[in-house]
């Protein structure tokens, strides 16, 4: 699950945290597009390298490393499955070019999870919802999104309490064969579901008591305004995109890094 670590907001006050979420999203989108655009190893390594200072500025290196560690297994699968399919579908031989291509796809994967991490680790859900609101997403969806995030820790606590209560009554989750183990989750899932229904009723009552849906023109305590640094980042991102597109489509393609030749 540590792959998901990179999706959890980590509080901070770095320039990246302060960036307008819309601009930040655009910046991440540029990195994302560029990573998809190229199929050569050099530009992908280059993008990976320019992400590192971003991680450093945001001071999220610890969470990012955890994410990479969590993604390592996935990366190995991508690398190995490519080699295996090259070997079996390419006439039972493997070249250095095949290895380079598999490596390229793996680095692309790392670039993608890094850009996701940078965005989600530095963007508070509140800001994200504000951005969604600005994008004219109906408030009901927005509210559902925030509520889901809000109740993750609450439900996790509740699941733990239920497990504790049932284990205290002699329930042994790790004993028995596969089928009987699944059956053992019934005493845990049922209270969890019933409590969630009860909770949702209480939530609805509390929402009503706070005049939910009272006004057509719902306001927001916070507003998003583009500052000068937001505009600068926006400009850099767009120029970067233009430069990469130029390199990809108007310059000769990158040659292979590894020499030609057969391994197997």
């Amino acid at each position: 699950m540590s792959l998901l670590e990179g999706l959890r907001f980590s509080r901070g006050d770095s320039p990246l945290h302060e960036l307008d979420p819309r601009v930040k999203f655009l910046m991440i989108l540029v990195l994302f597009t560029v990573a998809i655009l190229f199929t050569a190893l050099q530009p992908l390594i280059f993008i990976f390298i320019i992400q590192i200072p971003l991680v450093a500025v945001a001071r999220i290196h610890r969470e990012w490393l955890k994410t990479l560690k969590g993604g390592l297994f996935m990366a190995l699968i991508i690398f190995a499955s490519n080699l295996v399919s090259f070997y079996f579908f390419g006439g039972r031989h493997l070249t250095y070019q095949n290895v380079e291509y598999a490596l390229t796809l793996t680095v692309r994967f790392l670039v993608l999870i890094t850009s996701f991490s940078i965005f989600f680790l530095t963007t508070s859900p509140d800001k994200l919802s504000l951005a969604l609101e600005k994008a004219r997403i109906p408030f009901e969806f927005n509210f559902a999104f925030i509520t889901a995030i809000r109740f993750v820790p609450v439900l996790a606590d509740e699941a733990q309490s239920i497990m504790d209560a049932q284990r205290s009554r002699g329930l042994e989750l790790d004993k028995g064969n596969f089928i009987s183990r699944i059956r053992k989750y019934i005493p845990i899932l049922l209270p969890l579901i019933i409590n969630s229904i009860r909770r949702s009723l209480e939530l609805a009552e509390a929402m009503e008591s706070r005049a939910f849906g009272a006004s057509e023109e719902r306001t927001n305590l916070f507003d998003l305004k583009l500052g000068s640094s937001d505009i600068a980042v926006l400009a850099i991102s767009l120029m970067g995109l233009a430069a990469f597109v130029y390199v990809r489509f108007f310059l000769p393609a990158f040659g292979p890094l590894l020499p030609p030749g057969q391994i197997l």
Partner: protein, 579 residues
Amino acid sequence: MGFIEVRGLSYSYPNAKKPALAGVDLSIDRGEFILLTGPSGCGKTTFCRTLNGLIPHFYSGSLDGEITVAGMDIREHSTSDLAQHVGLIFQNPDNQIFALTVEKDVAFGLENLGHDRDKMIEEIDWAMEQTGIGHLRQRATHELSGGQKQRLAIASILAMRPEVVVLDEPTSFLDPLGAERIFKVMDALNKDYGMTVILVEHRVDLAAQYVDRVIVFDEGRVVNDGPPSEIFMLDDTRLAGIGIPKIVELYKRLNSRGVDLGGPPISPGEFVSKMEGKLPSGPIELPPRPSNRELDEFVGVYRSNPVIEARDVHFSYPSGVQALKGVTLNIHKGEFVAIMGENGAGKTTLVKHFNGLLRPNSGNVLVNGADISKQSVASLARSVGLVFQNADDQLFSENVREEIGFALRNFGFESDAIVKRVDWALNLLDIDRYRDSSPFILSGGERKRVALASVLAWDPDIVVLDEPTIGQDYSQKERLSHFLMQLRTQGKTTIIVTHDVEFVAETKPRIVLMADGRVIADGSSKEIMTDSDALSKASVSPPEITKAFGALSGRGLPGDVLDVDEAFDVLSRLLEVGG
């Protein structure tokens, strides 16, 4: 005409056999501070729901009679209109916080109403100041303590500037100081801004000191209504279900013996000032007490035989929170122990070590002399029965019989033994008539008893109850206290984790006080309840009677009096001598 006018109000929930409200007549003026009380299921919560129109707009069912709030008929106005006049605050703070940061949550109602930003900031500042959470403005809501969350819930309602605030058992999950803080916040709002406050509470001892009117509900009706000094003096059997403040009870008993204090006191302070006039002027010498050894004095006999030993136990959760920082504690066979302390002190974490749900990071826990590290939860649970706070976290079966048999099947009892033990447990907790009912249709108190029965069924030697009195009314607590007495006479070791000082004053266990992951005091109820330093460190305030006697101890009276019986005993001996 009052701000809230209620005439012949009756209501039944959809599919309910009995009406929840059966003809309520009430008139409530602006600026009143009201305690609304009554036994569980008396209709208090239902009544609150009518005040902002949750009934009939959110809950269908049949509503008869009249109810107007600020001149508005609740049937003709939506809940969001009414919510601007009547703010409802519920028991569980977690289920009324919507935003991820404190400030944003306070803004939620104002955003819904479409206020502009400057107005919002002004109202938020005011609401946070009133509730004392200004310093938490930027914090994430899930990081707050229970008391802070509840004050946030109040601030979020206050920001909408309602004329009436209704709090439905707001302090159930809070430690005593947290609860007192809530009452003080509401008191200040009532005094400074003339806000009308309606407080629904089971803890009458503390609440009665703040209010100027008490309304008692029973079976969907108002059965008593008046100032606290009158209501609690009534010899009405209909008061039996709610209990009366201990100070008033003491006054009543003294009064019946001809001691005239001139009108009932409600707070310990009032009692002290009334009592001082009655005390002899010179130094007081109390005649020796007739020998009358209480049960807790016999407990010393068992002291040689520890059944639970914790040795320098340290424990941290994976999140990094250090919950236990070196706890050493022995609990002996047959003892009755209460673990007290503020929320987050590590009480529940500690008891989860007793049946192996948690294992120490360092240090040892021994149960019946054997280290828990080599034993599974299931094998430890055979001798340590843990009953959790919220019964709903464990009920899942089709009927009560199955629910109680669940653990017995897990432990591999024979089927006829299971039948016998289930019957035994059903009788023990007096729930035999529900044997074939679904546990989900039972009331909160009954569900709690099913959960208790489902653990006692396998007859563990050590019984641990986490917050057994939460959400329980006066008579349910009485029943629980008798039941605990019964367990003790069977020689069981009983451990409760609790915030309820009045319950502790009545049952007098050995008290282990915890604060910040450590045991800070350990001793008899009398020792601990008079140790004001340790109590304040643990966010526990002494029982009301003890507060009064603490103040009188300067005059030579004993300061370690915990309950009404003892207080009456001391004072009647003294006044006979003095008179």
